[in-house]
Symmetry: C2
Subunit: 71 residues, 2 copies
């Protein structure tokens, strides 16, 4: 899986996480998702689905739409 | 799959599709996704992933964030 949309979502997640000052480990702990999964999402390797987008948004204190890239 | 987020996404998709005046058949044709898949998404039965959210948004002339429920 290396579609442009996955790459753009991963970039958006990574930039947002860093802006908010979280490490991948912290985001992993808050979401219950494995750190290596978070890492692969940020590298655009995962076609993330609604339930995990929601977990990521909740952990960052955001709405789901705030994690959507401008596409 | 019947998580609240999937139900809320399905409602948002259905309401948006109807506001824009598309049938499920038309949305199916424009996305390349099967009509029964569109139907199950709208009933909250699918954990839709980024690539299909993108197809649905493109077919409706929207950004992906415009299809995200307020969650």
């Amino acid at each position: 899986m290396n579609e442009e949309i996955c790459v753009r979502f991963g970039e958006k997640l990574r930039n947002t996480r860093l802006e908010l000052g979280y490490s991948q480990e912290e985001l992993s702990f808050k979401t219950g998702l494995h750190r290596t999964y978070i890492s692969s999402v940020e590298r655009g390797k995962r076609n993330v689905s609604l339930t995990n987008i929601k977990k990521l948004a909740d952990a960052l204190g955001l709405k789901m739409k705030d994690l959507m890239p401008e596409l």
